[in-house]
Symmetry: C2
Subunit: 584 residues, 2 copies
């Protein structure tokens, strides 16, 4: 060991001890007679004191150290004259008696401080330096803790962690696969798993009863800020259970994690039907930290000669408390924000409820005070509130109003990252019809069970069938989702049929699962939590990148190691593949 | 829940309770008046009793069930007339009052019993049925337990589990990479990690101090029985440590695992120099459960006119206790075994030490009694023992004699899988010279530190330099290995140079690491345990396949899901690659 103590552990009770510390030079202050160095390691900071009077050579030596030098220092723990109550080790310092540079450091390209001066690109390129900063270190330590506590909880309920393969088979359904050419089987490819879905179902067929895995998954999608090509999920499955059992078990997990990691008591998690979530929040992952639910003004808005409303499928509003004071400029800015291509609203209608209870709107030409008062009543508007109204196609209007609601919630400070509002969203539709491809797609995945009492509708009205599927939502972010699975071969075959598979295709792609269902498959179901997102929400952030040690950028590149990269002709040859010439 | 109790939990104290069980029909016995069904789940077996007299309809129903049907049964816990002391639930049975088939089963292609009648190929194809058998279930439960206990131990020592990326960069050094074409970066490829080596070193540079991960790794090698293209390792790294610290920490891990999982106390793990291991056992992973160490007879064997010995670099022997009684036929069989191409010995010389202390050998023509007695003295031979002698090139003879020693140890019952003999093998050579390629290769990997006092020899005699590298060996199987790493940029650059990298190549491949060493890299080191092998040794087996839920066969195929497989032209197009036409 290069040390006898860490930089985080010495206290006033250690005064008098001879110690050896090792770590990084965080900062150095030369006060003439004395030089003070803050030495850093994972566990904390400790002040080193070098005295020019008693040991000039040593002090001169220490003065040569730059930031981020790795040094080893011998000395005695002494009480400080001026104590620092903000540091755990702030009552003591080390009176240095010897030292050694273990490794020098060039000047880092940005400062290793809580608030760094480095831009995103620079910090990604020098990730190993960025990871030295406290905020990232806290994130990764939080992630470790969440992993440990997740396993502790699931182990206590007799879940078995069982590893499933990473080199599996490419399937056409769902997102795009990453594939891996097989050298030993020329012309053939493995796929990296988008999730261990079919394997965990097979484990239920095998009788393992309760399975989990904290496992890497892969999706070759065009990336957004909060997506990574590789991500981690807490993947779980249980046999002989109904939906209620799964909800209770994993609500328990979340409750355990909040208690163990943040000492927060989570009450019983409320449940909301998917149809309600869409009606009241325009989203299948509502942020219920605040109200401002949607009000349907369609009946009140139509038939008054306002063409925009009259031609709309829906007129929906939210009541924004206390915002009647919004100026015209503020309202214009809001309107512009809604008109950006990402949102795509055609416009935004507002109604102010003045302090005297009277109403003033941007559509006064069509709606008199009485009409607006009816809106206000429907919206439970109080003097000083602002009603914001959107109209158009139902689905589009819901999506847009959801964005507006989240924006206003944020502006009003109703989305505090230290407040946690979990929610189950239940009874998702089984299928979505895709107009372009002219066929149904599975809303969750092809293995999700229809509601048993609706199975007959698969033949007559598949689009109306709901699934035994549920999402776990935290603060408006979907962090988990799952379903009761199909365990009957015929129902599964019917699903593949609805999804446009021929019998032969279904057998070729999923024959192993269809076979398995003929040899004693128990009723089963499960869910998966997005571990990266779970960590980020526990850490009070919505971005996942700084909760992953070595993330990729939005082009799927690791700019630190410079991957992906070209490979040699020898490698390509062995794999029996050729790279297509790129067109200029 | 489909059940109120599992099939493993009911005891005599539960008599009188109304319960619901669900599980698989293990077997069924129809005794006329009564039908007994053993119901199985992960937790055990429980006997169900159906009475023809009291409920004929229910009994008739149960008689229809085939093996592996999934059923749910209601009933009362009653005391058995004839108790079965071999079953945990053997004092009770369930007097059935109701039942339901949850899923039927076709007749499985092999019996779901501890000793199955299914061959390897059939069982691999129907892996989800094979996994129902007790031996595999025990293996996977053991694996879960080892994972939990590994994390518990490392967490208690403040190791952080930090996930590293799976989509990394291909490097030319070491084994062959699996690669992943990048759609977003046409013509470029990710590689799947052979280990998180460079990332864990970067985490040390980042100050994480103690890292671990139970992580999947990938090597595209031609497979042997105990190799898989994807395998799992317990991967660890520590900063500010010397070799001694690492050995103690991970010896502690192994000791903890043996205690927690098998209640076995492991004494201090002996240490052996690599050179000693090669001299005494002809192997860098000696099985020290038994002695039978090599004796060097070169001086005694040469100069007596026996050309085979005279022209040999080495004459080596083992003394096999109590085997003087081997018949000529047995000795011939041994000789043939040694001559197989896998071993490649030219012949085998034996010396019997008779009960009267006289010697009889296959080379009596060249060696008289006195000469053989000198051999016997060197080999510590006792009356009744058999000396087996090989000669030739030193390295080849050692390899061959190692195989012979292991064979004889096995035959004498000295390799009991319930006896555990761990060993550290230390001070491996840093480099191996490859005659074919005319250059040095890293024996461990290019990041391994030379012994500090031998660094100067890198310029003059690189082949003589030893490394701060160590392997953990258990019962003759290498289950772990590691090293103190280079943390000095110049030494690392010198290593790449010795391995035949140009400066530009080293910078292109490992620039991020060389850079990292210039920004305050601490001294560090670590090791990795092969988790699959560790599990198999704890399970008393040397094969890893049945300790992996879904292994690949020797062609790298998953025959159950039929992977790898062809992918669509659309996928190939998106990835900008073409499969080469195969030549006939």
């Amino acid at each position: 060991m290069y040390r006898s103590a860490t930089c985080g552990e010495l206290r006033i009770s250690d005064v008098g001890k001879e110690v050896v510390l090792a770590g990084w030079v965080q900062r150095s202050r030369d006060l003439g007679g004395m030089t003070f160095v803050d030495l850093r390691d994972r566990y904390g900071l400790t002040q080193l004191a070098f005295n020019m009077d008693t040991n000039a050579a040593l002090c001169e030596e220490a003065r040569k150290w730059g930031r981020e030098f790795v040094v080893q220092v011998e000395g005695k723990v002494v009480e400080r004259y001026s104590k620092n109550a903000n540091m755990l080790t702030g009552e003591i310092e080390i009176e240095a008696t010897g030292c050694k540079v273990l490794n020098a450091s060039l000047t880092p390209p940005f400062t290793i401080e809580d608030d760094s001066d480095g831009g995103d690109d620079l910090r990604m390129q020098w990730r190993f330096l960025d990871l030295r900063r406290n905020p990232l270190k806290q994130n990764l330590m939080l992630r470790h803790k969440l992993g440990i506590e997740t396993r502790k909880y699931l182990d206590s309920l007799e879940f078995l962690e069982i590893e499933t393969p990473y080199l599996i088979k490419s399937t056409p359904e769902g997102a795009r696969d990453f594939v891996v050419p097989s050298r030993m089987n020329p012309g053939q490819f493995y796929a990296l798993p988008q999730s261990p879905q079919t394997f965990k179902q097979l484990l239920m067929v095998s009788g393992y009863d309760r399975y989990y895995q904290i496992v890497r998954c892969f999706r070759d999608e065009d990336l957004r800020a909060d997506r990574q090509p590789e991500f981690t999920q807490i993947d779980c499955e249980m046999a002989f259970v109904e939906q209620e059992d799964i909800l209770n078990t994993f609500e328990g997990l979340i409750r355990h994690l909040f208690k163990a990691v943040k000492n927060v008591d989570i009450p019983e998690v409320p449940r909301m039907l998917y149809s309600e979530a869409m009606r009241l929040y325009g989203s299948d992952k509502p942020d219920i930290r605040f109200g401002m639910t949607f009000k349907d003004l369609t009946d009140l808005g139509q038939g008054k000669g306002f063409g925009v409303f009259d031609s709309a499928q829906a007129v929906l509003a939210i009541n924004v408390p206390g915002c009647a004071s919004y100026t015209r400029a503020q309202l214009d800015e809001l309107t512009e924000w809604m008109k950006r291509p990402q949102i795509g609203a055609k416009g935004l209608i507002y109604v102010r409820c003045n302090e005297d209870g009277s109403y003033k709107s941007s559509v006064d030409k069509f709606f008199d005070g009485e009409a607006l008062a009816a809106w206000g009543e429907r919206c439970e508007t109080k003097p000083g509130d602002l009603i914001l109204v959107l109209s158009g196609d139902l689905n589009t209007t819901r999506k847009q109003l959801n964005e507006l609601r989240l924006l206003m919630g944020g502006r009003l400070g109703l989305r505090n990252s230290e407040v946690f509002a979990p929610l189950w969203v239940m009874d998702f539709p089984l299928l979505e019809f895709n107009e372009e491809e002219g066929r149904y797609f599975a809303m969750h995945h092809p293995f999700t069970s229809p509601k048993p009492d609706q199975i007959h509708l698969l033949d007559t009205d598949p689009g109306s069938v709901n699934a035994n599927a549920y999402d776990f939502v935290l603060n408006g972010v979907e962090i988990g989702g799952g379903s009761i699975r199909i365990h009957d071969r015929n129902v599964q075959a019917r699903m593949f049929d609805l999804l446009g598979f021929t019998k032969e295709e279904a057998q070729a792609q999923f024959g192993f699962l269809l076979n398995a269902f003929e040899y004693g498959a128990p009723p089963h179901g499960g869910l998966a939590f997005g571990f990266d997102r779970l960590c980020s929400l526990f850490g009070g952030s919505e971005g996942i990148r700084d909760f992953i040690a070595f993330p990729k950028n939005n082009s799927g590149r690791d700019v630190m190691i410079d991957a992906p990269s070209e490979i040699s002709d020898l490698q390509l040859n062995e794999l029996s593949i050729v790279v297509k010439k790129l067109e200029n």
